[in-house]
């Protein structure tokens, strides 16, 4: 369990914080708040009741604190006592965070107040206590009781973090602040009070074993996503076994535990909501999703008040030929559990439900050993785990260590059968030894079963086998020597050379520096939206997209090799138009090369027959010598499809219709006659909507939409007169009806 926390933030709101520094786009205060809000929203996001936050404003116009009668504590306001922060607290607080008109207010006094808040809140209980002070150090400070404060902070084990808003960029580029108009103190090198305060605060932080840094550093660190640490729990505690201890006295058993080594960290999940019905009713039915979104943007609720949950309502249906639509609703109460075996329903009574469960007992049983170089790494099927000896069992640790070292020395992996709990399905896992100076364990990955392997065949890549069985080594699909040579050099040039902290090259993958983009993007966006409800979401931070492109220096360095490679590779993009077009009028032939078309010609299929429609439509169009023939074929095909719709019992013929339409669309696109298809589709839509094809056929229209059988637009064919927007509108307008 995570510890309870109490953090008090002290934010300097003095007048000097309201100015912008140099070419920075935001004021010092806004800049400081980037850090503070990030911390606060990070805590809020955990949703923990035991993570308390307090907030003190320093150098405020007003004074409001427990010691406000004391002049030393003037211009300090306690905005919030220590408590769990929720959205309303954030909203309330963000209104108060504005620069004041004063520069008065003592940072040391604010720290004293914070200490007191923590003492009262935490009493003597176990807490993680923390004070974060952000200031530009331009206020007066009374240092009389510093040593006592230091003592108290250390005594109560409070972590003091002081972030200093540095006035000037690093020393080397210093200069501009001399003639900063806000200052008007040109005769001095630097605001002497600020320098003095900086020294005081730094030594205070250091004396308390706290941390001191510039805001610049702190904000820069925000770019690095924080990885949540997860408590480790064993997913299996049992025995690594060799042989059967129930039957053989020679069986070997080592008590072991299994933990995740990798496990997917999930991004926060969203729930579905809709606008409250009373609000939704007042909204016009939007014409497209774009306007719907615009409407939503306008009425963007600052809170979730205008929303209501979406619930899923399940209805249960069985096929019934007599019912309208071919389906009938049944009550959940009348249903039993079962399984599908092919298309047969197998009913299993409630008491027998685990009859199909294989009886197993928990164990990690060794099947045998393999050579590590005879294993193909791509067979890893899962996340990985580690296996260690039962903790606090030295004998087990010793035994497992001998196993790990034996595997390592022999360059072997072990194959084992793992059942994590009684009656759980067995899995086959691969165990590899891992030996580090201070840690030994087995690494485990799941292996595929016979059923998990799909044997798709592909031709070899280093030679070409022709249909006649000849082996060819020079072919347009094979690289020649020039290409091989250029590739070799390019691969060498693009070698990633990572270095460790000492600048020494390392041969590891940059896993530690790569962060889940979606997880952190979503997380950052939620927190940003919570603090700034009306601002657009900023783009993802650079850290998240660091690995989306090769490193710039590497690209520049290997530019000559790449150019050479491109030159000899001779890769040509197929223009999108040509993709669809029948490139040759030559039709496909069987293996023997026989000209079947000639035979087809003899047969003279005058009319497309409804029961062989697709082949005959294709053949007619392929042999058409003029546009009239194609038009006629489309006309016949349309009639056949409409007939199929009209006579469809429920959705019985719908798949057949979509196949016919898909064929028509494909062929007419290929023969560059998009208008013929578009005309057909427009007529079909009208007939469907007017229920002229045997009643309510809206479900068919929906299927057509889902199957992407809409109008052929300009992006797909140059000959089309339909724009992409029109095509989109054509399909969606009807769905709303």
């Amino acid at each position: 369990m995570a510890d309870k926390e109490a953090t008090v933030y002290i934010v300097d709101l003095g007048r000097s914080m309201g100015k912008r520094y140099h070419d920075r786009e935001v004021t010092d205060l806004e800049w400081a708040m980037q850090y503070v809000w990030d911390r606060i929203s990070g805590t809020v996001a955990t949703g923990r009741k035991t993570a308390g936050i307090g907030m003190i404003g320093l150098r405020t116009d007003d004074t409001s604190n427990d010691l406000e009668d004391d002049a030393d504590f003037a211009n300090i306001s306690v905005f919030s006592g220590i408590k769990q922060f929720l959205m309303p607290d954030i909203r309330e607080l963000s209104e108060k965070i504005v620069p004041s008109k004063t520069n008065k207010g003592d940072a040391i006094s604010a720290i004293v107040l914070a200490i007191q808040m923590i003492i009262i809140h935490c009493k003597k209980l176990k807490y993680k206590r923390r004070i974060v002070l952000v200031t530009d150090g331009k206020g007066p400070m009374n240092t009389d009781s510093l040593s006592e404060i230091t003592k108290k902070i250390k005594e109560d084990n409070i972590e003091l973090i002081i972030l200093f808003v540095a006035d000037a960029p690093p020393v080397s580029v210093r200069g501009p602040d001399f003639d900063d108009p806000d200052y008007g103190v040109k005769e001095e090198d630097k605001d002497p009070q600020k320098a003095e305060n900086e020294a005081i605060l730094r030594s205070l932080a250091e004396d308390c074993d706290g941390a001191y840094g510039t805001l610049e550093q702190a904000v820069a660190e925000l770019q690095i996503p924080r990885v949540k640490s997860v408590r480790v729990t064993a997913t299996f505690k049992g025995f690594l076994q060799l042989g059967n201890p129930e039957e053989y006295d020679t069986a070997l058993r080592i008590p072991v535990e299994r933990y995740f080594r990798t496990h997917a960290a999930k991004p926060p999940s969203a729930s579905q909501f809709v606008l409250r019905s009373d609000l939704a009713a007042s909204q016009e039915q939007p014409e497209s999703s774009a306007t719907a979104a615009a409407a939503a943007q306008e009425s963007q609720p600052a809170d979730g008040n205008s929303l209501t949950n979406v619930r899923n309502l399940r209805a249960y249906q069985v096929p019934d030929e007599e019912a309208p639509g071919g389906k009938r609703d049944v009550e959940l109460g009348d249903l039993a559990k079962g399984y599908e075996y092919g298309r047969t329903a197998v009913h299993i009574s409630e008491t027998d439900l685990n009859i199909t469960t294989l009886e197993t007992f928990a164990a990690l049983e060794l099947l045998g050993f393999i050579q590590s170089d005879r294993y193909d790494r791509y067979m890893h099927l899962s996340t990985t785990n580690i296996i260690i000896a039962q903790r606090a069992n030295d004998k087990a640790a010793l035994a497992l260590s001998s196993f790990i070292h034996a595997l390592f020395e022999l360059e072997c992996y072990a194959v084992a059968r793992l059942v994590v709990k009684e009656n759980k399905p067995p899995i086959v896992v691969l165990l590899a030894p891992s030996i580090e100076p201070d840690y030994e364990c087995l690494l485990e990955a799941q292996l595929p079963f016979a059923e998990d392997v799909r044997t798709y065949r592909f031709p070899p890549l280093d030679k070409v086998l022709t249909v006649s069985g000849k082996v060819v080594t020079q072919h347009r699909n094979l690289p020649n020597e020039d290409l091989m040579d250029a590739m070799e050099k390019y691969v060498l040039g693009m070698e990633l050379n990572d270095t460790d902290e000492n600048g020494d090259p390392v041969d590891t993958l940059p896993i530690e520096d790569s962060f889940s983009p979606v997880l952190h993007r979503t997380d950052a966006a939620i927190r940003f939206r919570a603090i700034h409800p009306n601002k657009p979401i900023p783009p993802p931070s650079e850290t998240l997209t660091k690995f989306s492109n090769p490193p710039q220096d590497l690209v520049e360095k290997s530019q000559p090799q790449l150019e050479k490679l491109i030159a000899v590779a001779g890769v040509k993009k197929v223009p999108p138009k040509a993709k669809g077009r029948k490139r040759t009028r030559e039709t496909e032939k069987p293996l023997s090369g026989l000209d079947v078309d000639a035979l087809l010609h003899q047969e003279k299929r005058a009319k497309i027959s409804p029961n062989n429609a697709i082949p005959e439509f294709k053949q007619t169009v392929a042999q058409a010598e003029n546009i009239e023939t194609i038009k006629e074929a489309v006309k016949q095909m349309s009639a056949i499809l409409e007939d199929q719709i009209r006579h469809s019992l429920g959705d019985a013929n719908y798949d057949r219709v979509t196949e016919g339409m898909g064929t028509m669309r494909e062929e007419l696109l290929a023969y560059e006659e998009p208008a013929l298809y578009n005309d057909f589709l427009r007529q079909l839509k009208e007939k469907v909507l007017q229920e002229r094809l045997g009643g309510d056929r809206r479900e068919l229209w929906w299927l057509i939409r889902r199957s992407r059988l809409g109008l052929i637009d300009r992006a797909q064919s140059d000959q089309s007169e339909v724009t992409e927007e029109e095509a989109k509108a054509f399909m969606s307008a009807s769905a709303a009806n």
């Binding site: 069985v318 010793l398 072997c412 290409l483 979401i537 047969e603």
Partner: protein
């Protein structure tokens, strides 16, 4: 919107990948129709070469048995896919409601549609098995017609079955099993009619796969007739390899030697699954301005039993119930349209809302791509850095001409230089970007020269820093050399065949058992007693080969442990280990042949057994019972009474 068609993904969510070909209007399903010729020569039993199974089997029976195996297998592996069996050349005819008894002319004389093309039902499985095994029934149906059946008619019959039963399927295949390489030698008209009907099938998108059977005296010659019937590639897959693959030699089963059924089975098996792309024509970016196109496939993926479903028992037979979800607003229960739905996140006791556009933008990290970031030595990829199954990629010339040669050059270079590529990989629009290690895989072939693993590249998704868990703390106890030496001998004794892992040798026991039971229930068979489980270790062999070495290792362990136990006084206050340290070491070392156990708490075992014999298990504490049960792989959850029950059950059966 009520939708019943799409995959049942209400639980898996959008992340879970379905194999959808986004560019296509067809449904990603496969239909296989077996067309088996029934003729005198096909009905002659042939001797089996397998001395263990000296059963004579005719090609027809072998083909039917093959279809039966495939049917059972596909119910498990492809529950959505269809299968049918058409016999041709039979005296009898049957086509839907037509048979010899019908009035009028038969549409397809001498064609007998034994199993209609559909997702198999239990009854159909049963009927097919009966045909394979039951002589009586076979005698009625498997009677050859007097004259040669028209192949044009057979092909059109298949055409009609595919057109009406498997409309809009992405993959439709006709498996022809025959030993007749020239059905219409004399009749030119019938021959050309057949080629026209074959072209129809081709245009319909049906692939014909031929399983030729050579006759004892006569090698099957496809050039006589079938080369006019069969087209080079599947119309749906322009990149399919040349039709004639090395395995075709395996299927020319002559009567001498090779067992017919086995060759047929392996040949059918290898083509039993249609090749499905996971993504097609994806750009693979080797560097700025150098793109080629590749297609992706999933060659390893965990197959799990289908979830249980609701069954309606109110009708004549149990009926599978389809669930339809409607979304309603919580406040007024009105039906909600998709466009109305907003996504919101819980934050600080409130909801943080995004518009659908913003929501989309959050997931948008660019278009689908595989982009090479740079190269690393293959050894840089740690064993543990893995998240899920790999993706297999293979070049396609569809978008970029020249892709194949560049891919081949990269493939060969990575193999030669022993390198992997680090890639930024977005498999689909709006899919989570993956950082992957791309490695070249060599082609692997089996003993018969048939491809086992194809040549190509594999992309293995790497964990992000967020996905890496920390190792739990533990104390390090490095084994001394003598102990390792002993263990090394054990490991050397127990190498798997060829020292490699062969997945095909290990069917998933729980999956097989699940369907075995369902099959028994569905077909009203007796429930099987004991599952066949290939993943259970071969205990006898382990004992025989390594038993003695294990014992001597155990001795060494005791010796070594005794030394460290002395070094580390038991007075350590960090860990409570009273019971464990008092483990009866002397007892074990004096009798080395006793059970080899490392857990050092033998006393629990004995105590429980003692109490069991005295019938007063209830006097033991819950903890002891729990430890006893877990040490035997049994669940240790539940109340004390349950635990006692389980202990008794265990000790009774032992």
């Amino acid at each position: 919107m009520a939708d019943s068609n799409p995959p049942r993904d209400d639980e898996v969510g959008e992340e879970e990948e379905e194999e959808i070909d986004e560019s296509n209007y067809k449904t990603v399903k496969d239909a296989v129709l077996f067309a088996i010729e029934v003729s005198d020569s096909m009905l002659v039993p042939r001797p089996s070469a397998d001395p263990k199974k000296p059963v004579e089997e005719s090609p027809v029976t072998a083909a039917l048995r093959c279809a039966y195996h495939l049917m059972q297998q596909r119910i498990i592996s492809n529950p959505q896919d269809m299968m049918g069996v058409l016999l041709y050349g039979t005296q009898a005819s049957k086509f839907y409601d037509e048979d010899e008894g019908s009035r009028g002319d038969l549409s397809y004389p001498n064609c007998y549609l034994f199993t209609d093309l559909d997702i198999p039902s239990a009854q159909e499985v049963k009927d097919l098995r009966a045909l394979v095994e039951d002589e009586g029934k076979a005698r009625d149906i498997l009677v050859p017609a007097e004259k040669q059946v028209s192949m044009a008619n057979v092909l059109f019959c298949a055409n009609q079955i595919f057109t009406s039963k498997a409309p809009n399927f992405l993959s439709r295949r006709l498996f022809i099993v025959t030993d007749n390489d020239s059905p219409h030698t004399q009749d030119k008209a019938l021959r050309s009619a057949a080629t026209v009907r074959a072209k129809d099938l081709y245009d319909l998108g049906v692939t014909i796969e031929l399983f030729p059977i050579s006759q004892p005296e006569h090698e099957f010659d496809s050039s006589k007739f079938y080369d006019d019937i069969i087209y080079k590639t599947s119309p749906n897959d322009p990149d399919a390899p040349a039709y004639l693959q090395p395995d075709s030699k395996a299927s020319t089963a002559t009567g001498d030697g090779i067992s017919l059924l086995n060759t047929l089975l392996s040949s059918v098996n290898s083509r039993s699954v249609p090749r499905r792309t996971h993504f097609s024509n994806m750009p693979l970016e080797l560097g700025p301005n150098l793109k080629i196109s590749v297609s992706g496939y999933i060659l390893f993926r965990r197959q799990a039993p289908a979830r249980n479903c609701y069954v309606w028992l109110g009708g004549e037979k149990p009926e599978i119930v389809k669930g339809v979800t409607t979304q309603i607003a919580d406040d007024t229960a009105r039906t909600v349209e998709k466009w109305e739905i907003r996504k919101a996140y819980k934050f600080g006791g409130d909801q943080v809302v995004f518009t659908p556009e913003e929501q989309k933008e959050l997931k948008n990290f660019g278009d689908p791509v595989i982009r090479i970031i740079g190269f690393k030595p293959a050894s840089a990829l740690p064993f543990w850095a893995n998240m899920k199954h790999p993706y297999f990629i293979y070049p396609s010339e569809e978008d970029y001409v020249g892709s194949t040669r560049v891919f081949s050059a990269l493939h060969q270079t990575l193999l030669r230089q022993k390198k992997i590529a680090l890639v930024w990989f977005i498999p689909r629009r709006a899919a989570n970007p993956v950082l992957g290690a791309m490695m070249a895989g060599e082609e692997k072939v089996d003993e018969n020269g048939v491809q086992k693993y194809p040549p190509g590249m594999w992309i293995m998704p790497l964990p992000y820093a967020d996905d890496v868990r920390q190792n739990p703390e533990t104390t390090l106890n490095v084994a001394p050399e003598p102990l390792i030496d002993q263990m090394r001998v054990i490991v050397q004794q127990l190498q798997l065949p060829k020292a490699c892992y062969e997945p095909l040798k290990y069917p998933n026991p729980s999956l097989q058992w699940h369907y075995r039971i369902l099959q028994a229930l569905a077909l009203d068979e007796d429930l099987p007693e004991k599952p066949e489980d290939k993943t259970v270790p071969k205990y006898r062999q382990i004992d025989k080969r390594a038993g003695d070495y294990v014992l001597s290792w155990a001795d060494e362990l005791e010796k070594q442990y005794a030394t460290i136990a002395v070094e580390k006084p038991a007075s350590s206050t960090l860990v409570k280990r009273g019971a464990k340290n008092r483990a009866p070491e002397d007892e074990e070392s004096s009798k080395p042949a006793k059970k080899v156990k490392v857990e050092a708490d033998n006393n629990i075992e004995e105590e429980v057994r003692r109490h069991y014999q005295k019938n007063n298990l209830s006097r033991l504490t819950v903890n002891i019972l729990k430890d006893f049960l877990t040490s035997h792989g049994r669940s240790g959850v539940g109340k004390k009474a349950d635990l006692i029950d389980r202990v008794e059950q265990f000790l009774e059966s032992g």
